[in-house]
Amino acid sequence: MQPASVSRRRLIGLIAAASALPLAVACGATAPAATSVPAKAAEAPKPAEAAKPAQPAAAPPATSAKPGGSLAGTKLTILTGNSFVPAQDKLVDNMVADLGQQTGMDAKVERPGAQMAAKIATIIESGAGGDIAIMADTDPFLYGDKLADVSEIASEIDKAWGGWYDVAKQSCIVDGKWRALSVGHAPCAWNYRTDMFKAAGIDKFPDTFDELTEAAAKLHAKGTPMGMTLGHAGGDGRSTNYPVLWAHGGKEFQKDGRTVALESPETLKSIEWYVKIFKYLDPASLAWLDPDNNQAFLAGKVSAMTNVNTVYLAARDAAATDPEKKKLIENMDHANWPSGPAGRVASHNINLWAGFGNSKNRDGQFAFFRGWFDKKFLVPYTKVGQSYFIPPLADIEKEDAWPDDPKLKIFRELNKINRVIGWEGPPTRAVAEMVSKFVLVDMYAQAVTGKMTPTEAMKWAANEYKQAAAKL
């Protein structure tokens, strides 16, 4: 019998195979973080071209820390996303630089872009890499006490600004403690072409869901259909479809956040409404990702779709040199959501500031938060964004924070009708799971394409919700 020998070819083959298999499997859950994946929380909710901002100079923040005080020599790393209004980023950078100068703290801003979700997870787990991050509305419920208790600051802001809106409290308070501070929400409006509506015999944007269906039929007949995002779009998929459910009286959970309430006559009505209107919509919207509705609208392919103000801002910016864009901004406007049987509701993407609980610089975190919510900073920051991001604070109404352009007026109203996902319950981990799996979006998509009947689609979605709720 010959002793076994290791031939080079066999050795190489075995090593290659043995290396590749565990790598593929082990990286299945982690490798995506290393690829260019859209960030879920910190990214601004809508891609669009750069918008032209006004340029008020932001005053240095008023912080509790004095120059050369206890913060001198400490470090503070702030992770944030890129605003689609670049001037807002500049104001943030200036504010942090001023904060560093005033306190002697080494404060810096990092923008991890697509890696934000992975970066937050890493800091939560390891305690290294950052002190503050911008997050989404479900994150305080995902990370809970791993985030710093900022109830003290929240209370100060509440007094200084005439109170937080409910939407801020619902997304930031976990088990009675503020785990984040709401930066604001990006109001999602109906963007529509006034010229196309007029050509179809429609004088004003529909005020009810039934009128919306009638308008869609007329526009479809004219070859200028409307569009509603039904693809797996992280921002628009959510802001387009949750209002449909809520306006018809449907809801995902009961107040306890554990009992699934999706299976109801109200939800069924909302699906039936969608089936009716989808016949008149641009079928391409079934696969729309976040940039696609912008493209379709800018090119005049659709007469209406839901979006933040960035399409308009980008077109307005380009209008000086581009006659097509000039024509577009003259012939477009924004409208509020139509009212449904249960009222007028919207689902805007919410961003929050949260401090990591394992940060060694609690005072630095608080100094930054105080600086951010100082009127000298927050008012010009909001004004520059042209209602792209609005802080959910009552007294922002009294400030010179609003755009002068009449076509952006409606965003002030939209600011008041936002609802936190998971309604009527809090935005728990089950809610986050349903958002990340696009269950509500797919419920409508499966019904409108005839893949399922409305009842089947509702039961399918309710089953997914129940499975997620069972894990709470």
Binding site: A17, G28, T30, P32, A121, L286, A445, K451
Partner: protein, 315 residues
């Protein structure tokens, strides 16, 4: 230095350092010893960077670990849960279809390309370099380019189809029945060069004498391919197939960038589903379990291919 033997002869003995060196040298002359020493650094890398994450993923999959929370052992609960989930079942089905269709296309196209590039044609070197391009370009970048070709609003492919009078075009990403094959096409475009170049390398290692001998025996082109090229390229083809299967099975960036798993989960695969669960909902334990369901499929394939290779070598 010298020592006296029992018989009174003086023998010169080697210097101790020299003796150690000789012993080491003769030890290293043994192929089995040297082989393991040479493999040791790679083995350490495999253990540190592959075995550890794999072991950790395995452990996580048996826990209720969420981001920021402690991991508690829950046995096979995660596996039971995901197995009952409709979206996961669809993701498994899609992953198998995606991998099988992609491999079925990449292998013959790659083989044909390798044969072509092995011929003495003009600009051969330029063609060989050009063939590699899709493989070299970062995945997300090429996915963006394909997204433009498939764009639901302004597909360039549909523009061409319409201008050629071949109809209104194809609903590349909008139709759930077509979307999966649209992403398969991207994977085929991207992965074929890997087959072409590795198989070409295998073909170039075939001694020319074999072709000459078979030609003298009267073999035609097909017979030369059938009885010389194919059998000699087979081992490298199987290794290529194995690596490509693993890569295709776990492809994430292509699908996530183009469809995000939509529409209606028509392109949801295990890797995208795992990502959504682990980072979207923070359920690391369940995400790891989803990811690890790839293991049995890949393991079966790997064992089959390695067995085939070993059998062939011993034969």
């Amino acid at each position: 230095m010298s020592t006296e033997t029992a018989s009174g002869h003086h023998l010169s003995t080697p210097h101790p350092a020299l003796s150690t060196r000789n012993r080491l040298s003769s030890w290293l002359d043994r192929e089995d010893v040297l082989g393991y020493i040479l493999v040791a650094p790679v083995a350490l890398v495999v253990l540190g960077f592959l075995a550890y994450p794999f072991g950790l993923a395995l452990w996580l999959s048996l826990t209720d670990k969420v981001i920021g929370g402690d991991a508690h052992y829950v046995g096979l609960q995660n596996y039971e849960r995901i197995w009952q989930n409709g979206i996961f079942q669809g993701a498994v089905r899609n992953t198998l279809i995606f991998t099988a269709s992609s491999i079925a296309a990449k292998l013959p196209i790659g083989f044909a390309l390798a044969l072509l590039l092995n011929e003495k044609i003009r600009f051969r070197k330029a063609f060989r370099s050009a063939v590699l391009l899709p493989w070299i370009i970062p995945t997300v970048l090429s996915a963006m380019a394909w997204l433009w070709l498939y764009n639901p609003n302004f597909s360039i492919l549909n523009y061409v189809i319409a201008n050629l009078g071949l109809g209104r075009g194809i609903r590349w990403l909008t139709d759930p029945n077509i979307a999966l094959f649209s992403v398969v096409l991207v994977n085929v475009w991207r992965g074929t060069p890997f087959y072409a170049i590795t198989l070409l390398a295998g073909m170039q290692a075939i001694p020319n004498e074999l072709y000459e001998a078979t030609s003298i025996d009267g073999a035609n082109r097909w017979q030369r391919f059938r009885h010389v090229t194919l059998p000699l390229v087979m081992p490298i083809m199987l290794i290529t197939l194995l690596l490509s299967t693993i890569g295709t099975f776990s492809d994430f960036a292509t699908i996530y960038s183009i469809t995000g798993g939509g529409p209606m989960n028509a392109t949801q695969v295990i890797s995208t589903y795992s990502y959504g669960t682990a980072l979207g909902a923070g359920r690391m334990g369940e995400g790891a379990a989803i990811s690890l369901t790839m293991f049995p499929f890949l393991m079966v394939m790997m064992i089959w291919e390695i067995r085939w290779l070993m059998k062939r070598q011993s034969a």
